[in-house]
């Protein structure tokens, strides 16, 4: 049978597009199929209301790997990242805390709450950065497999061990603790002020179904210190034109290398013949054949819906069935007719040109989690707000603004059953607006349009099973060589010619691009060497 393409990539999210770009760059004939009318999946920008461009789901850029930006020359394809200027925490008593890019300003701010914490804060940053270097080596390469018997793998492991131990016992100990401790326990070791710890601890829970006091959340704090933009370590930013700007730049790079990209092309099923994945069937019945198929969908979609359980052995299926997705977050996007003024710090100064956290105390965050544990959305949720229109006027009409609210917790599995989310959706949106309005009294009257994404919507609209933004919990038992299943963390699957390249592969979710890059490189490597 003639093969039309070398590779078909199912899903035009940022990982699929990165994968496509790398394959096309190596001279492969590549086709990307995206079911939505815009590229980007969870990292997309759309204009649902005239003049207002929303970063629909993902809203800031921090983890995108800088070498991918270089290797694919993304700036020349329109990628521009504007750094966030501040992390702003409004407080219910009218006070607030700003952590600025300038360390001196930050120290003065923190000192208002604790002199000791102000002194320790830069030290903490240094320690975290050291540890981020430690993990980078693991993130930028396929996962080491301690269960493999191949001598090359053992040597690789020993090398990694030697590299890690070269950091010395103190860093190793910290690292070990970070992997298993809760974000709050870890921060308790450094700081005393709740007002500093609460907004810092939230980076440990984003996208997970855990609370800030749950063990295992400290590790994710590191991710905050791993972001690199233009080589500046630890920088966060907005992508110009919304987060979809990242995906569009990847798509443009892929096209420039010769890849073909089709939107509104929904894949219905993989074509499997004689134990090999030969191509895909689209919703409209069109069959497209290829040498290999790359799926950047989550494992449930890839293996159960697109391929079919019958093609895999029991052990593999058992592992996928226990793979935890459990979406826990929602997104509320608001189009407003005036600047949303925070009563504790009025004006549209630099403090709002960054991320704004509604996270007034650790107990507040923990109570938000408790509600979710028993199957309800948080009445008073953690909200991470950004107002991208302040720094990028292209996303809203003059004088008007876009307010993007990332909200936790909104569990997929509400007690009424996930299928009842549509009835609860508006109440969820109200809870978010009400909570935010406590800090921002003019907000309610200024809302022109409101867009609410619950985990149920994310599953239906962009195909994330259970609405998990990382395509699977980032808990240790689902990371590294265990992601998504033991023995299958290297982008191959048990089905011949089927590969995975999405967030459900090592090193996992977040706007990183690594799974797409590593999948492409692993595949290209397998063509060269004997396997």
């Amino acid at each position: 049978m003639p093969k039309t393409y070398d590779a078909i990539i199912v899903g035009g999210g940022h990982n699929g597009l990165v994968c496509a770009a790398y394959l096309a760059k190596a001279g492969k004939k590549v086709l990307v199929l995206e079911k939505q009318h815009v590229l980007g999946g969870a990292a997309s920008t759309d204009e649902p209301f005239p003049g207002f461009k929303f970063s629909l789901y993902s809203y800031v850029v921090s983890l995108f790997r800088p070498h991918i930006i270089r290797e694919l020359d993304l700036p020349s394809h329109g990628l521009e990242i504007i750094p966030l200027e501040c992390s702003f925490l409004p407080l219910p008593d009218g006070d607030s805390l700003c952590r600025w890019a300038d360390p001196n300003l930050t120290r003065r701010e923190i000192a208002r709450f604790s002199q000791k914490d102000a002194e320790v804060y830069p030290e903490f940053g240094m320690a975290m950065m050291k540890m981020a270097y430690f993990v980078k080596r693991i993130i930028d390469a396929p996962a080491p497999d301690p269960l493999s018997n191949s001598p090359a793998e053992l040597i690789n492991l020993l090398r990694l061990g030697r590299y890690l131990s070269s950091f010395g016992p103190d860093v190793m100990y910290q690292q070990f603790k970070m992997l298993t401790m809760s974000a709050v326990d870890f921060l308790d070791e450094w700081f005393e002020s709740d007002i500093l710890k609460a907004p810092m601890s939230v980076s440990g829970i984003i996208g997970t179904f855990l609370g800030v006091r749950s063990p295992g959340t400290a590790y994710v704090l590191l991710h905050h210190y791993m972001g690199e933009i233009d080589g500046a370590f630890r920088a966060w930013g907005f992508a110009k034109g919304g987060t979809g700007g990242v995906s569009l730049a990847c798509g443009s790079a892929a096209r420039a290398f010769g890849a073909e990209i089709r939107t509104k092309a929904k894949v219905e099923k993989f074509i499997i013949k004689n134990g090999s994945c030969d191509g895909v069937v689209l919703e409209n019945g069109e069959e497209i054949h290829a040498q290999s198929v790359f799926s950047c969908l989550d494992p449930h979609r890839t293996f159960f819906k697109m391929a079919g359980e019958e093609h895999f052995d029991d052990d593999f299926i058992r592992q996928l069935k226990r793979y935890k997705l459990r979406g826990s977050s929602g997104k509320v996007n608001l189009a407003v007719d005036r600047f949303p003024d925070f009563s504790c710090r009025p004006g549209d100064g630099a403090h709002v040109r960054g991320d704004i956290a509604i996270a007034p105390s650790i107990d507040y965050l923990e109570r938000a989690y408790d509600e979710a544990k028993y199957g309800d959305f948080s009445r008073r949720p953690y909200i991470n707000v950004v107002i991208p229109s302040l720094v990028d006027p292209s996303v809203a009409p003059p004088g008007k603004h876009v307010v993007s609210c990332f909200v936790q917790y909104a569990p997929y599995d509400i007690k009424e059953g996930p299928e009842h989310w549509p009835e609860r959706k508006e109440a969820f949106g109200d809870a978010v607006v009400d909570t935010l309005a406590e800090y921002c009294p003019t907000l309610k009257d200024s809302i022109l349009y409101r867009q609410i994404h619950t985990p149920w919507d994310m599953e239906r609209d962009i195909g994330l099973t259970e609405g998990n933004i990382f395509q699977g919990e980032l808990s240790l038992e689902q990371l590294l060589f265990l992601r998504p299943a033991v023995g299958w963390s290297r982008y191959r699957t048990p089905l011949k010619n089927l590969w995975v390249c999405g967030s459900a592969a090592h090193p996992g979710g977040g706007l990183m691009g690594s799974p797409g890059e590593l999948a492409a490189k692993t595949y290209l490597g397998s063509l060269k060497g004997p396997q």
Binding site: P146, L147, S165, G168, P169, M172, Y173, F176, K177, L179, T180, M181, D185, D188, E189, L210, R213, S214, P215, G216, R322, K324, D363, E366, D370, K373, Y374, S475, L476, E477, L482, V486, G487
Partner: protein, 520 residues
């Protein structure tokens, strides 16, 4: 030690005569060391001390379960010759349910499966597989926890081989079990138990021992490993309970020549040029010794008993950061009558665990996060009088109840009223599960975590001298003293705050003794 100037000079001074301190003393005295044990209370045993809490009624100890005691140690100390005997197998544990017969979990896997089958065929089959899994990994897991851990970042020729051997042992488990072990470490009890079973009552019964050691609920990641450790260690328990174990250890230590003193509270550990010189007691008496083995908790040792200048600020910070806030209260109840559990009149049920489902247990945990007591606590009950007449007068029963969850730092502070309220809640929860209890109460002793601290001297009132969280299990209590040695020459750890942790295992005591023999 030939230049001893007084009879008060010892080779080893052991601080604390709990089961671990006595174990250390017995081992070292048995190897010819001149040992003295100093206990601050007027009785021996610490948290394993059996005491009369109401006229005629005795508790088995604050901790009541002896099924984890390491049997190799019992043999090597020849405790049998000092009067210790074991029950042939671990006792059955009963989980009562309202309006039903409940679930009795026998230690024998087949008997247990038959009992479980009355509730769920699926779970009966899975339980057999679960026990088979535990049987397969037991040797490896106990091997890891019965020896001192390797130091972090100090892989040299001497430590390399033991690590390599463990690594090979891990691989020998086979891929399936090795992956399973790796996976369990970060998992939550709820996730792990949900993978195995569907019966709520079975899951809460199994989860009970694993939530006691740390600030966790069943849904907290990192809690599953505590269950696996408990399952792997479980074996026959000591006849007569913790008190009988303490008596045998006392006899073994004393028989080997160790001197044991009660009402001798150590005020300070003497240091000169970074080395231990001895200890000073409350009354000013000084006892000289080149080695001090401390079985009290790490915060007490390093932050209270040592002069501030003796340790570096960094190390002091690490010990201060060591998490040891207890969440367990202890209630001893004297009952006028024999009690009847699950309609099993006449049968002697010795262990009962409450808790209908893991969500209820999780809700009980939520309270303690906000420094409150659970309104519906989860109880782990031992009824020592069921099989042993020493614990209660004829016709009566003595109940030893470990209560989850009660915070160390209660929001309003612990006073008589709060203590009383806790006692009432426990009796009411018990009465829901065992009819007739409420009417039969003649005496009650409530020990809150704050009481455990003031009575037994354990910081934070933690019954295990510190959380059994993953990081504190493998590196306990800090990298400087994870292998029972400390930065101070001659000072060693031998209590529950050192590897491999709390509970009545006697393992820290034995490993502490081994470290002393090796280094001094």
């Amino acid at each position: 030690m030939t230049n001893g100037r007084s009879s008060k000079k010892y080779d080893v001074i052991v601080i604390g005569a709990g089961h671990n301190g006595l174990t250390t003393a017995a081992f070292l005295a048995g190897r010819g060391r001149k040992v003295i044990v100093l206990e601050q209370r007027d009785v021996l045993g610490g948290l394993a001390c059996s005491e009369e809490f109401h006229p005629g009624y005795r508790s088995p100890g604050v901790l009541h379960d002896t099924s984890s005691v390491r049997h190799g140690l019992i043999k090597s100390l020849n405790l049998a010759s000092h009067g210790l005997s074991l029950d042939p197998e671990p006792p059955a544990i009963h989980a009562p349910v309202k309006d039903g017969n409940g679930l009795s979990l026998h230690h024998d896997a087949q008997k247990a499966a038959r009992e479980i089958a009355k509730h769920s065929e699926h779970d009966a089959e899975r339980y057999s597989e679960y026990r088979a899994f535990v049987d397969r990994v037991r040797g490896f897991v106990n091997g890891v926890f019965d020896e001192s851990p390797p130091g972090l970042g100090t892989i040299d020729a001497r430590t390399f081989w033991p690590v390599m051997k463990k690594g090979l042992g891990f691989r020998r488990l086979g891929k399936h079990d090795a992956v399973e072990l790796f996976r369990i470490i970060p998992m939550s009890l709820a996730d792990w138990l949900d993978e195995w079973f569907e019966t709520d009552r079975l899951k809460t019964l199994l989860a009970a021992p694993a939530i006691r050691g740390a600030f966790v609920g069943p849904r907290s990641p990192g809690s599953a490993i505590n269950l696996l450790l408990w399952e792997c260690r479980k074996g026959p328990s000591v006849k007569g309970g913790p008190g009988a174990l303490v008596t045998a250890l006392e006899a073994a230590a004393g028989g080997a020549g160790a001197k044991i003193r009660t009402s001798a509270r150590v005020k300070e550990i003497g240091i000169s040029e970074g080395k231990v010189t001895g200890v000073t007691l409350d009354d000013g008496e000084t006892i000289d010794g080149a080695v001090v083995a401390a079985s009290v908790d790490p915060k007490t040792i390093f932050l209270k008993l040592l002069p501030v200048a003796a340790i570096t600020e960094k190390f002091a910070q690490r010990i201060a950061n060591y998490r040891a806030k207890g969440t367990t209260a202890k209630v001893d109840i004297a009952l006028r009558q024999k009690i009847e559990v699950g309609g099993n009149a006449g049968s002697s049920v010795e262990y009962v665990r409450t808790g209908e489902n893991l969500t209820q247990v999780e809700k009980a945990f939520d309270a303690v996060k906000y420094r409150l007591c659970s309104s519906t606590p989860v109880l782990d009950v031992c009824i020592p009088s069921a099989s042993n007449r020493d614990f209660a007068p004829d016709g009566g029963s003595s109940l030893s109840v470990l209560v989850q969850y009660a915070p160390y730092d209660l929001e309003d502070g612990w006073g008589d009223r709060q203590r009383e309220l806790l006692g009432q809640r426990v009796v009411e929860t018990l009465a829901d599960n065992i009819p007739g209890v409420k009417e039969s109460v003649v005496g009650l002793r409530v020990l809150t975590p704050a009481d455990l601290e003031s009575h037994y001297g354990t910081s934070g009132g933690h019954p295990y001298h510190g959380d059994h969280a993953v990081d504190q299990l493998f590196v306990r209590p800090s990298p400087e003293c994870a292998r029972h040695t400390t930065p101070i020459g001659g000072l060693f750890l031998c209590g529950s705050g050192s590897f491999p942790g709390g509970g009545i295992t006697c393992a820290p005591g034995a490993l502490g003794a081994r470290a002393i023999l090796k280094h001094s």
